[in-house]
């Protein structure tokens, strides 16, 4: 088992390396001179040159990459142009809100979507099935921020049940933390629910057509047991897969959601950094998100071994 884990980890290294190269390359493709931008319009050529060598921009691209990669591996993501603090510190400050939002969203999504998907597949063609598919298409189509404003307008402004914006730290109490996160989580989870429910439904439908379901029914088992122990258990791998892949959607959604709900997390940081052309921060955040995504999917891969005894690496 340990050997298998090591092997899977090693297999992700090439991907991580390529991500690093891509992130580096993306930001070096800028037309124009970052040093000039940084120095401002009134700078002299000398000042610009000094800034440039300070940033290491006068060396060759390959050298720059090696230096950058080396620093990254030791945890040094550089210093933000804009905030004038270490990028790692910035990320540290903003981590809790984003993690809270993500955790709550994933929980809501999985708890709601999987049972719905199973039931829709079981009663294929029924009203639940059709309703779920309609909801699913809607969920993919309404942009997150439109949905967010809709919910804010309905729930916070008209009904006054939940606060409009903002974030409360966990340390300040679970109640406020939860109340401020509920609406953002629901907003963000809609698209995730749409995705997971769809895949659950498709996967369970496919499983229900398999021979061993027929065998299970021929054994006189109760339908509930057939659905869970036989159908869902075998449908688990694609469902786990999509939960992992959906994280990419989640990350994209976090950026927008934090923006609308004024949550001081990593998503907001990304947007602010982009607007300010703060390269080190942008690089740092994108790297973080990508690595997290790869690792989460690695976890999903590992989970396959527990879900399906046929899978042995």
């Amino acid at each position: 088992m340990g050997r298998f884990l090591v092997r899977r980890l090693l297999a992700t290294l090439p991907v991580l390396a390529i991500v690093a190269v891509l992130v580096f390359a993306m930001l070096r493709l800028t037309p124009g001179d970052p040093a000039a931008v940084l120095a401002g319009d009134a700078a002299t050529t000398e000042q610009i040159a000094r800034i440039r060598s300070g940033l290491g921009l006068d060396r060759s691209i390959a050298e720059q990459f090696v230096i950058w990669a080396g620093r990254m591996l030791t945890g040094d993501l550089g210093e933000s142009f804009y905030y004038k603090t270490k990028v790692t510190d910035l990320i540290g400050q903003r981590l809790e809100p984003t993690l809270s939002l993500a955790a709550l969203t994933i929980t809501i999504a999985v708890v709601v979507a999987v049972p719905l998907g199973v039931l829709a597949a079981w009663r294929f063609g029924g009203w639940l099935d059709r309703g779920l598919m309609a909801f699913s298409v809607l969920g993919f189509s309404i942009p997150i921020f439109v949905l967010a404003y809709l919910l804010i307008w309905a729930v916070s402004l008209q009904l006054g049940w939940l606060p409009v914006q903002g974030y409360r730290r966990l340390a300040d109490g679970i109640g406020p933390w939860f109340r401020h996160l509920l609406l953002p989580s629901i907003t963000l989870s809609v698209i995730y629910i749409a995705l997971i429910a769809r895949v659950t439904r498709a996967s369970v439908l496919e499983t229900l057509g398999e021979d061993y379901i027929r065998t299970a029914r021929a054994k006189g088992l109760r339908e509930g047991r057939v659905l869970v122990r036989h159908a869902l258990a075998n449908a688990a791998v694609p469902i786990a897969t999509v939960i992992g892949i959906g994280i990419a959607l989640l990350i994209g959604g976090v950026v927008v959601t934090e923006s609308v709900y004024a949550i001081p997390g990593l998503g907001r940081l990304t947007v602010d950094a982009v607007l300010a052309r703060d390269f080190p921060t942008i690089q740092g955040v994108i790297l973080l998100f990508s690595f997290a995504y790869v690792l989460i999917n690695l976890l999903v891969d590992v989970s396959y071994v527990f879900l399906d005894p046929r899978i042995r690496y």
């Binding site: 021929a218 088992l221 047991r225 258990a233 879900l307 399906d308």
Partner: protein
């Protein structure tokens, strides 16, 4: 069987409706039969006859789209045709059980075998955990699986097809039902495994005195297991009687036709010219697959090793073997769809060109001389191109002009007994047998010296099979072409082969004139193979020539 005990299963006037718009209005109509205690009734029919529908109707497993329109099904006197779902669930596994055709997919892949048997006990009895475990181990032993403790812990994918089918049988019989329904339980298994499973089922049935409704399309199996036989055609029962009556003195024309179409294991020696020129000589052919993986052990599979064979003009070489024996690999090497690892494939006299090692440029010229017909008629033709385009593709590749190629295509369609109007139609408009004939015509368009049939009739019904085999025979004698016929079905091989090669695990274990090999097999594998062929010793009704 007449006598005091009432029949276990009594079916009267059963009709199951089909969704509207299909070929016929009912899947089965007016079906009536009985299964008594301790007897095996075989339900025989080709695909589409409705035999599986009947089995599922008895168990109450029909989908909502196929409702029981009328009739009665009585299990030990109790009406089950329209019983409540809860009652049906109670009856399943306790009084009636079913085993299915595909053992590879009949078991839940994520539950251990032991758990799957245990489930039946948990659902229907109130035994304690310890008692259940004892029962499970006992039944696993009864189905003759080795190392019961280990079997019980294993997952289905760790077992072979035959072993899985035994587990399925164990699940079906653990609660001693009075009726066992077996829906083609051995069709997907190798010949030797098939024999074992049939023996097992019979033994268990005899021991428990259960009634068995045995569904099959294979008359050899019928000869092996049946007490009584019922023949189904297009949803209606055309004949029913004891095994002797139906197999030796069939009354209905359809039954007679079916029995006539069954190839026997007798080989009629055919005239062949021992001095005809060689068309193909294969020497020391080898194909090894190496699985290179980054961080795992390398796996080597010897798909074919040390294969020698030769075919003369006008003769047919049959290669017989079970799945995994390497016979298809050999065929694909000869046609260079796969590159051999070693050895030589020589066309013509043996002084000619070696297909095995030729580069792709000059290889193209040689491809004309060897053509192949594949197993799956539904995937051998591009669904987007019509028959005419499919047929002329070959000759046009080699420079023939369209008009000429089209004319030749029409000729060949006639040769394979198809109407020229087929040219403008698309593959999906034809049945399996027709498509296979189109594929044969396509192969012949290039005037090959050697025609390879890779399980070309395995996916067809018995009657259609017979037609295609007859056609191939005719082609062989008319065009004086050499044929390499690959099959897993001994009876088919006995009908077509002049010479026979038997393969096992990538090697040829026996090779010689067919008549000789069938009459006096020398290798023990060959002997086991022949012995295992179901119904081998049964003398069917004399065939109408």
């Amino acid at each position: 069987m007449s006598g005091a005990p009432p029949p276990i299963l009594e079916v009267r006037g059963l009709a199951v409706a089909l969704p509207p718009g299909g070929e016929r209005s009912h899947a089965v109509r007016d079906v009536a039969f009985e299964v008594g205690a301790g007897e095996v009734l075989c339900l025989v029919g080709e695909s589409g006859s409705g035999k599986s529908v009947i089995a599922q109707a008895v168990m109450g497993l029909l989908p909502k789209t196929l409702p029981v329109a009328s009739g009665s099904i009585r299990l030990q006197g109790e009406e089950v045709a329209h019983a409540a779902p809860a009652r049906l669930r109670e009856l399943r596994a306790t009084r009636m059980s079913m085993i299915f055709q595909e053992p590879m997919t009949a078991l839940n892949p994520v539950m251990t075998c032991g758990e799957q048997i245990d489930e039946v006990l948990r659902e229907h009895t109130t035994l304690t955990t310890a008692e259940r475990r004892r029962r499970v181990l006992a039944i696993v032993r009864e189905v003759l699986l080795p190392e019961p403790e280990r079997m019980v812990q294993s997952y289905p994918h760790q077992l072979s097809g035959g072993q899985r089918q035994r587990i399925v049988i164990a699940i079906a019989l653990v609660l001693d039902p009075v009726l066992l329904i077996a829906d083609e339980p051995t069709t997907a298994l190798d010949v030797t495994t098939q024999a074992q499973i049939l023996r097992l089922v019979l033994e268990l049935q005899r021991r428990r005195g259960a009634g068995v409704l045995f569904i099959t399309h294979d008359f050899g199996v019928v000869a092996e297991v049946a007490h009584r036989v019922a023949v189904l055609r297009l949803g209606q029962l055309v004949e029913i009687g004891t095994k002797d009556e139906v197999l030796r003195r069939p009354r209905h024309a359809y039954t007679q036709m079916l029995i006539g179409a069954v190839p026997t294991l007798r080989v009629d020696p055919r005239p062949s010219d021992p001095d005809a020129p060689f068309v193909l000589r294969v020497r020391a052919l080898e194909k090894t697959y190496r699985d290179h993986r980054w961080f795992a052990k390398e796996r080597t599979v010897h798909a074919a090793a040390d294969v020698d064979l030769e075919i003369r003009r006008g003769q047919t070489l049959g290669i017989v073997g079970e799945s995994g024996s390497g016979k298809s690999t050999v065929a694909r090497c000869i046609v260079r769809l796969v590159d051999p690892t070693a050895g030589s494939v020589l066309l013509g006299d043996g002084s000619g060109d070696d297909i095995a090692t030729m580069a792709s440029g000059p290889l193209r010229k040689l491809r004309k001389r060897v053509q192949i017909v594949f197993q799956d008629p539904y995937r051998s033709l591009n669904p987007r191109r019509n028959v005419a385009e499919a047929l002329i593709e070959g000759p046009v590749n080699y420079g023939m002009r369209r008009a000429e190629a089209l004319a030749k295509a029409r000729e060949l369609l006639e040769l394979v007994r198809m109407d020229a109007s087929a040219m403008d139609r698309y593959p999906h408009q034809f049945s399996g047998g027709q498509r296979q004939r189109i594929c044969i015509a396509r192969a012949l368009m290039l005037d090959p010296e050697l025609l390879i049939a890779d399980e070309a009739v395995s996916a067809l019904d018995v009657s259609v099979q017979a037609q295609v085999l007859r056609l191939l025979d005719e082609i062989r004698s008319r065009l004086s072409i050499a044929m390499l016929f690959i099959t897993h079905d001994l009876r088919v091989a006995s009908q077509v082969a002049d010479h026979l090669a038997v393969m096992s695990k990538g090697r040829i274990v026996e090779y010689g004139p067919a008549a000789q090999v069938f009459a006096a097999p020398r290798h023990e594998y060959t002997r086991a193979l022949f012995a295992a062929a179901p119904g081998g010793g049964f003398a069917f009704a004399p065939q109408a020539a």
